[in-house]
Symmetry: C3
Subunit: 139 residues, 3 copies
């Protein structure tokens, strides 16, 4: 059994979902384990994780549009808006999606379904450098 924790930086340029499946698969390959789990963790409160449909781009467009609607920026009720209209909304959108995701590994391969892609969900308008932590554990 081994445990290997590492991180990488993803540069984002505005709201939306950014594919990170390849990077996670690379970490799993490097660890060289056959059976175990990969933990993905975003160490930010205005970006999150989502595993989503990876084939049709309109699927993710609907996701982006849905979050604009369910957590609208133009809401006079918000108080935590010092950094702009995408301040408190970015935290709320993060809370509704995920900060950590754990994916089993079998025969050295991540057990993702055919249509599953792992995405960083950026909730901020401005460019950001996002740190994503990956732990691979198993034997």
């Amino acid at each position: 059994m081994i445990s290997q924790t590492d991180s990488f930086i993803l540069r984002t340029h505005g709201k939306g979902t950014y594919p990170i499946t390849k990077e996670i698969k690379r970490f799993v390959g490097q660890a060289g384990i056959k059976d175990g789990v990969a933990t993905v963790f975003v160490s930010h409160t205005s970006a999150s994780l989502v595993i989503y449909e990876n084939a049709d781009p309109t699927a993710r467009e609907d996701l982006h549009a849905y979050f604009e609607k369910i957590v609208p920026e133009d809401n006079p009720d918000y108080h935590h808006t010092l950094e702009g209209p995408d301040d408190t909304t970015s935290h709320l959108r993060m809370a509704l999606t995920r900060t950590s995701e754990v994916i089993p590994i079998k025969a050295g391969v991540l057990c993702l379904g055919t249509w599953q892609g792992i995405y960083l969900f950026e909730h901020r308008r401005e460019p950001h450098e996002r740190t994503i932590w990956v732990n691979v554990m198993g034997q």
Copy 2:
């Protein structure tokens, strides 16, 4: 320390929540570990996981009704609807709940609360075969 990854198929027949606690407990029992964690992972983008109230059936009926309301099918704004009105909505409902869930194991037993049941949340109208991966890790 050992790591054991396996999967099982659940046949669904329309939208709703399907109990899978027994299957997860069986995997934990078979692994024979005393202390560790069990990771549950659904490898689909139109079904998800939720740990929910397991005693009163109306609790889960309220859950089903709530998701029909918060992610309604009859929304003209959706673009990813090639497979019907339950296409993009199934992905959105999945994104709002969970794809992975990790439950600690103590004294050989899953640390679930009295009222906690593990459920697959099916978001599609048609019957489906859903693959659920389970990793049990510990000592």
Copy 3:
């Protein structure tokens, strides 16, 4: 490699978010591992977990207000209301946030970002004793 599962009790006094980062860090320190993951799990269906902004109190006030709005108590559609208007709503709010969260450990330290705090999200009005399970695993 070791695995160490333990729990602690948090006393809540009404709806809101309660910081538990210090307790989780204490468990990680006691386990004495350098590389691994910490799994946090709430064994209740009317309380949940959220990793949220830890600096400005108004951020969490916006979170609380948002959940009152997106899962309102005064909804005549609910059926599971035997224990009051905060009964079914507490389960729905739990389903929209998290029951488990997994955080990587590197060089003996939890890989939390500067602004990330771990919180128990209490959805009940009355005081409760909440059990939080923590598994620390690694080498």
